[in-house]
């Protein structure tokens, strides 16, 4: 399949899947905002956003399976990135279509700006952006080291040549890179949408909902970036170090070690992101109990 077309198709599929499923979730519940108390209305928004988050799981799985099966060698990396993209798109649409306050004649609004970057927190946002940029950088390195066919690595010297595949060259990492760029853009859209969702009277609960959505987005983006970076570094390290042939190991040996260290660092950071998510979940459950 033509890779650029397939990537475009996957991005459209993510948007379509989110666009079809999230409004259905909205229609399934009657809008009783006008009769609700402030707490009930905030709880209704919370329920809607929670349902949308669960809905993101099958949507992401569907998109990941289609990416995996439709993109040959690139499928395994692309399935991670496009699965994450689908989750973020579902969050965008859920925030956009969340139940809005009933239009009373008298309305109030705080004159305090809501910064899109304040809800995930500076550290989480930096980790998410850093993870995606790191993944893009190692993918770029893979393309630079890879052979012309985009899926192997080749070393030549006076004594002969040696080739190993699969290697994360252009044919393997290209669609994932396109997906990562789209993921960065959609993340900014998502954080903006989270900040702009109409405010509810219960300010603390409202802020907590925004923080939960923003944390989900940044964790998913960070996890996808780190998983791709770790996988690309690990595969490249394995192939560079294991390349048998008449040529001396030379730079390949040190590059392989460096890439293996980077792969371990990426997987360690991924573990920290997962631990952060689990800790937050446990704290949330304890608070509710």
């Amino acid at each position: 399949m033509n890779a650029p077309l397939a990537v475009l198709g996957l991005i459209v599929l993510c948007a379509l899947a989110a666009a079809v499923t999230v409004p259905a979730l909205r229609r399934s519940r009657p809008d009783t905002d006008a009769a609700m108390t402030t707490d009930d209305a905030t709880a209704a928004v919370a329920r809607f956003l929670r349902a949308a988050r669960w809905l993101a799981v099958p949507v992401a799985a569907l998109v990941a399976v289609l990416a995996f099966t439709g993109l040959d060698d690139a499928g395994w990396l692309a399935s991670v990135v496009f699965g994450a993209l689908a989750v973020v798109m579902v969050v965008v649409l859920a925030e956009w279509s969340a139940p809005k306050p009933a239009p009373d004649a008298v309305r109030t609004a705080p004159l305090t700006p809501r910064d899109p970057h304040e809800y995930p927190g500076g550290r989480r946002l930096a980790v998410a952006r850093g993870a995606v940029l790191f993944a893009l950088a190692v993918c770029g390195l893979g393309i630079a080291l890879g052979a012309d066919d985009g899926r192997s690595v080749e070393v030549t010297c006076a004594a002969g040549a040696a080739t190993a595949s699969p290697f994360p060259g252009l044919a393997v990492v290209g669609p994932a890179m396109a997906g990562l760029v789209a993921l960065l853009s959609v993340t900014e859209v998502a954080l903006g949408r989270i900040a702009r969702r109409p405010r509810r009277e219960s300010a603390a609960a409202d802020d907590a909902l925004r923080s939960a959505s923003a944390a989900l987005v940044t964790r998913i983006v960070a996890a996808a970036g780190l998983l791709v970076a770790g996988a690309v570094c690990g595969l490249a390290a394995m192939q560079l170090r294991g390349l048998d042939g008449p040529c001396p190991a030379g730079w390949r040996s040190s590059a392989g070690v460096a890439l293996a260290v980077l792969a371990l660092a990426a997987l360690g950071a991924l573990g920290a992101v997962v631990a952060d998510a689990v800790t937050a979940r446990v704290r949330h459950t304890t608070t509710r109990v």
């Binding site: 309305r107 109030t108 609004a109 705080p110 004159l111 700006p113 405010r199």
Partner: protein, 137 residues
Amino acid sequence: MNPPIALRIDTTAAEPPYEQIRAQVVELIASGELLPGTRLPTVRQLAADLGLAANTVARAYRELEQAGAVVTARRAGTRVATPPDSGDYADADAHRVDAAADAYVATIRRLAVDDEAASAAVRRALRRHPAGPSSDR
């Protein structure tokens, strides 16, 4: 902790919502609750929170900008304007005086009062409330 400064819009009032937003922001600046440099919410945030069209809020912000009450920069957003240096007052006071004058002018424009009558009304008010020792700067 102080409650956040809020706008209150009555959609059944005779005054259009954009004018209510404009007048309340001017009053908040005049009262010193909104200080120079304070960042205001984006047009889209305020429109979403108030359940109004973005154009309505954009019009209010545009009129505030034309009156010199706020300044909008592409990246910094919309902020309460820093008043020009007026020699006679400290900066914050000058800003409040300008904002109060803006609010007065907006009211007389709405009432279609001509400039001479408006100035005469200010002179009468100044005579009724002569400056005391505390306002001598």
